[in-house]
């Protein structure tokens, strides 16, 4: 048991280095994947025999590029962790466009608890995956994101719906923050609280191995400038409040980083219910 201690300390202190923070959109990136059942887009779990589309959420520091991708789906050996197939690939997509996606129909006789989608996405060039080393690259030499997503299947009537972040009210230091607005912020302003107010109903209850559970929500914030203080924020499973603010703090870039005409900062928020349900939203701020 004591051997955990150095590992945990390492985990705790590893956050102190000066490497690029995960919350900074400094390159074209993948931020998540959202599964929608074609017949009911609110559902995150397709049933065997149903058609579904997996859409990859992306962000760019500038204009969105035309992504190219190669994606495949297969029955999963596990429900979490590295992607390991436990059967043949049943859906595949190799294409390019603004939104990487894989459309599939889950085989009706699929018995696995989940499927796994894996592949590579390039912002320029086309992805190449080395089948021996499982390393990915883009054929123009640029960086490729090797990606994976487990998708739970709705067996025996079980289901899961996506949380609703896009429709939730956003707040900026206590004030409403609407999509399309660009509130002005002074350069260098510190500890600006930004987040979303989510009703308790956003978190479903469910049964797992015979025990009642309630979803917890994980918010991943991203910005293309400034500094966010946390990589994740949570609404805990045992949060009983009728409405909870899930928020982080952001420090605006300094005056020396802001051009004379001002800087428009785009925020991406992705929320997960940690069992396949995902939603995303964007907001902007204008820094002067």
């Amino acid at each position: 048991m004591t051997k955990l201690v150095p590992l945990l300390l390492l985990a705790a202190t590893a956050c102190t280095s000066s490497l690029d923070p995960a919350t900074l959109i400094a390159r074209d990136r993948v931020l998540g994947a959202k599964v929608t059942v074609d017949t009911d887009p609110s559902r995150a779990w397709p049933a065997p025999g149903e058609a579904a589309t997996i859409t990859w959420l992306t962000a760019s520091p500038g204009d969105a590029p035309d992504f190219s991708w190669t994606l495949a789906a297969c029955p999963a050996a596990t429900t979490t962790g590295l992607p390991i197939c436990d059967g043949d690939v049943f859906a595949h997509s190799q294409a390019n466009g603004p939104v990487p996606a894989l459309a599939m129909t889950v085989p009706a006789d699929m018995e696995a608890r989940s499927i796994v989608v894996l592949g590579a996405i390039c912002a320029s060039g086309s992805p190449v995956i080395d089948p021996q080393t499982f390393e990915a690259s883009c054929d123009d030499g640029s960086h490729a994101d090797l990606v994976s997503q487990h998708v739970f299947l709705a067996h025996d009537g079980a289901t899961n719906h996506h949380p609703d972040l896009a429709g939730a009210p956003f707040v900026l230091d206590g004030a409403a923050w609407e999509a399309g607005d660009c509130p002005e912020i002074a350069a260098g302003t510190e500890d600006i609280v930004l987040g979303a107010e989510l009703a308790a109903a956003a978190r479903e209850t469910f049964t797992f191995e015979g025990a009642p559970w309630r979803e917890e929500l994980q918010l991943s914030p991203f910005a293309n400038a400034g500094e966010l203080d946390q990589r994740y924020a949570y609404i805990e499973a045992d949060d009983e409040r009728p409405s909870s603010l899930v928020a982080v703090e952001w420090t605006a870039p300094g005056a020396d980083e802001v051009p004379a005409e001002g800087l428009r900062v785009t925020f991406h928020f992705v929320i997960r219910d940690m069992r396949g349900g995902v939603d995303a939203a964007t907001r902007t701020l204008c820094v002067r």
Partner: protein
């Protein structure tokens, strides 16, 4: 290049400082010493009555070494005063010196009258002899006119006085165990047990430490309490006085073990002992024969026991005695000393990390006691430091430890000790949220506590010694981290041992015993699967609510009894053959083991050849067999040790040693692809150790050690390097008394970097919004070479007549940024080094009354 320049600058600076100090200081003053000793005429009546006495005199010695004046300070009557006075007036001395010039001096001298020795015991068939030399620990000079009292196990007493060369001898001693007691003026009382073998002479050398500080010679009384190694014996023993002065250890003897040959460098900030390529969990530290669960306080800054209470520390890097078991790596045995009985002592040591205090002394003629305690105060200032450096981590490490001892010496053959000790650690690390809104997901909390009570009884007979001990206490450990892991252990542990050692004949010695380890308690854990630690580059846990291990074991029992026997046969004087066997039972795996061991030593003048082979067994860790957490079907891990080497004693203080070794490990516990622990691993470790030591006793002392080793593991498919395989380990450590109370020391280490597993890529896991690393071959790369210089400066002086020392211990003196591990960016496309501890000064002061 910048570091190289820093290194050279540090060396040049040290050399200049040392050289300047050496030039600036005059030759140290020296006290007078006897060159001609005249034996006093024993008063006839007192001789007849068997009376003995000690007369204390004050003698004034001229610059020519002759006695100018002498007077009795404490008259005892019966003609002793006059006889002593008449004798000392005829003494001739080497005069005292100052700045190299002879000067007059006044000293106190105790003349001891001892009746002719009486042999109380029946005349033995064959007798033995003790011959010895008594030296000053300060400068190594011979101590003449010192009374030596030799007491046999049957109560027989022999008294002799050392001659001008500091030597003495006692003839016609029946074989058996003897207690040697020495009470020299101005020196700490000293006692030591020796074995006399029929037909042989036991040659011993004792170094006596001053009992009081003499400012002019720069000795320091507080550390004189730590008894010196009492014999020139051939094993890797480090004694307290030497260990508490090693640079970079902050005076901690158990940290100094890390510098010995065969011991690898642990990662900085993590206290662990890596002995001859073995996992830290495969080695065991014993305190007076009882296993210690937690050697270091958290963070590895210091060990749990106050070094001032330690008598010595032995390292057995392999092929250890059948007395020790349940481990396949190495053994470290720390031995507590008895409290001082000459008078009451109290000491205080205050430095930037912690404060400690000890008190000890006699309670009566037969009882003595010692108390010690320590508390860290790093929590008082580390928060400010972290804030000042904009580190988004708040940490509050707090540790305490305590020791208490009462010793009852009923007679020369019976000793009872009651010892208590314990340690508490608490560590809270919070990844700071600037708004103060940090949650449990940003917090690591660790608490560890253990307390022990030990009772041991030592009984000696003429040819037999018996030690029976029982150690019991509680262990509590709890961790709660990042709301990811919660677990702990809460148990009661008892360890009992009964040891017997007998001299059966001139050629045969036998030891045997029993030890029993029994633990009972609770273990709980809730968190992700704990993967294999060693050989697994991915040491980060991932939160998964739906794949959580939950263990809540109440009243689990681990019962591990063992019996052992060992005999040493000496067919010819130069050859000693030792064969032993140990049998263990492990209730947790329902397994008996039998471990035979053999070693041999052959003495060729000043050179000793040695070799050994042995079998060793180690049970799984407690939690590894626990249902729901480990695998109840695990069995015992096993190892074979082979070693061959030589030792050479160049002179009384300088020795060399060279030893090669090979260890094979089988049935090692590794994790199968199914995540189940199995006994399918193997290991092989081989290497050589070279050691050179310059024993304390003069102005200079130190040691040089070099280890060449390779440690490999096979988890089931291919051989790979062990996580802490270090091909080259070079350590040089020395200490030098400059005079005037100044002492400087330095420790330099040059060590191969630890193996590393390269990260070849990553996969973005959209389930949790995190990148998972992809690794190349395990431990197929190696970190950069580690080197570090530690310095220590100590100045001794007196305040109000009490000895005080101020010291500065500089760890990582030239602030080398040694790479300890690697930090990666969130997507593993960028990396940066995580350095070890920076330059850490520890300024302290200690004193004694």
């Amino acid at each position: 290049m910048r570091h190289l320049r820093s290194t050279l600058s540090a060396f040049l600076f040290a050399a200049l400082v040392t050289g300047a100090a050496a030039r600036a200081e005059p030759a140290p003053p020296t006290p007078p010493s006897i060159t001609t000793f005249v034996e006093a005429e024993y008063p006839a009546a007192a001789q007849e009555a068997g009376r003995e006495a000690s007369v204390e005199l004050e003698i004034t010695i001229g610059a020519d070494g002759k006695v100018i004046d002498a007077r009795v300070v404490t008259p005892v009557g019966d003609g002793f005063d006059e006889a002593a006075l008449a004798a000392v007036e005829q003494f001739v001395f080497a005069p005292a010196t100052k700045d190299g010039q002879p000067i007059a001096a006044r000293i106190r001298y105790r003349y001891t009258f001892t009746p002719k020795p009486k042999v109380v015991a029946p005349a033995p068939v064959i007798t033995g002899r003790i011959e010895g030399t008594i030296l000053s620990r300060v400068d190594g000079s011979a101590m003449s006119s010192v009374m030596v009292v030799v007491t046999g196990a049957d109560g027989s007493v022999y008294r002799v006085t050392t001659d001008e060369s500091g030597t003495f001898s006692v003839d016609d001693l029946p074989a058996g165990k003897y207690r040697i007691a020495i009470d020299a003026l101005d020196h700490a009382a000293f006692a030591q047990d020796e074995d006399v073998i029929a037909g042989e002479a036991a040659a011993v050398t004792y170094r006596l430490s001053p009992a009081t500080t003499r400012e002019d010679t720069g000795t320091y009384g507080a550390k004189a309490t730590i008894e010196a190694p009492v014999r020139e014996i051939t094993r890797r023993t480090l004694e307290g006085d030497e260990l508490t002065k090693i640079a970079g250890t902050r005076g901690d003897p158990l940290r100094a073990v890390e510098l010995l040959p065969g011991v690898a460098r642990p990662p900085s900030g993590v206290g662990m002992l890596i002995v001859r390529g073995s996992s830290p969990e495969d080695s065991q530290v014993f305190l007076d024969g009882a296993p210690v669960r937690q050697l270091y306080h958290m963070g590895g800054l210091t060990s749990f026991v106050n070094g001032a209470l330690l008598k010595k520390v032995d390292l057995f890097p392999g092929n250890f005695s059948a007395r020790y078991g349940r481990k396949i790596g190495g053994i470290i045995e720390a031995e507590l000393r008895d409290p001082r009985t000459d008078r009451f002592h109290a000491g205080l040591d205050l430095n930037m990390i912690d404060v400690s205090a000890i008190a000890e002394g006699p309670l009566s003629d037969r009882w003595s006691f010692a108390l010690g305690g320590r508390r860290s105060h790093i929590d008082a200032w580390i928060g400010s430091l972290l804030r000042a450096t904009d580190t988004p981590v708040a940490a509050t490490p707090v540790y305490t430890d305590w020791q208490a001892m009462a010793v009852y010496k009923a007679d020369a053959n019976n000793k009872l000790r009651v010892i208590g000790y314990g340690s508490t650690d608490r560590l809270d690390v919070v990844i700071a949220n600037p708004s103060g809104a940090s949650t449990n997901r940003d917090r690591v909390g660790v608490d560890g506590t253990f307390h022990r009570l030990r009772v041991d009884w030592t009984r000696t007979w003429p040819k037999l010694e018996q030690v029976i001990s029982v150690t019991g206490g509680t262990n509590r450990f709890a961790v709660n981290a990042l709301e990811l892991v919660e677990g702990g252990v809460d148990n009661l542990e008892v360890f009992g041992r009964a040891d017997w050692r007998a001299t059966l004949s001139k050629m045969v010695q036998l030891s045997w015993g029993l030890d029993i380890q029994h633990a009972q308690g609770d273990l709980w854990y809730e968190g992700p699967h704990v993967p294999q630690g060693e050989g697994n580059p991915n040491k980060m846990f991932t939160r998964d609510r739906f794949d959580t291990q939950v263990v809540d074991e109440k009243g689990a029992v681990w019962f591990r009894p063992a019996a052992y026997a060992e005999t040493t046969v000496t067919p010819v004087k130069a050859l000693a053959l030792t064969a032993g066997v140990r049998s263990d039972y492990f209730s947790d795996v329902s397994k008996w083991t039998v471990d035979p061991r053999f070693s041999a030593r052959y003495v060729l003048g000043a050179t000793t050849l040695k070799g050994g082979i042995g079998h060793f067994s180690q049970p799984p860790k407690e939690e590894e067999t626990m249902k729901g957490f480990g695998n109840p079907n695990l069995t015992v891990q096993q190892a074979m040790h082979y070693s061959l080497g030589a030792e050479h004693q160049l002179n009384e203080r300088v020795s060399f040693g060279l030893e090669g070794y090979y260890k094979s490990l089988d049935q090692m516990i590794v994790e199968a692809p199914s995540q189940m622990k199995e006994n399918t691993g193997h290991g092989r470790i081989y290497g050589a150790e070279l050691a050179a030591r310059w024993q304390p006793g003069g102005a200079f002392s130190g040691f040089l050690s070099y280890t060449l080793s390779r440690s490999e593991r096979n988890d089931g498919d291919a051989w790979r390097l062990f996580d802490y395989d270090q091909t080259h380990i070079l350590t040089a450590s020395s200490s030098y008394k400059l005079g005037g109370g100044w002492e400087v020391g330095g420790t330099f280490r040059l060590v191969s970097g630890n193996p590393e597993t390269p990260v070849t890529g990553s996969v973005y896991d959209a389930d949790i919004d995190a990148y998972r690393p992809l690794y190349g071959a395990v431990n197929s790369a190696r970190s950069t070479t580690f080197h570090r210089l530690d310095l220590r400066v100590e100045k001794q002086f007196r305040v109000g007549g009490y000895p005080v020392a101020g010291y500065l211990d500089l760890q990582n003196a030239y602030n080398r940024a040694n790479r300890e591990s690697t930090d990666y960016s969130f997507d593993y496309t960028q990396r940066s080094d995580i350095p070890g501890l920076p330059l850490i000064p520890s300024l302290g002061i200690k004193g004694e009354i």
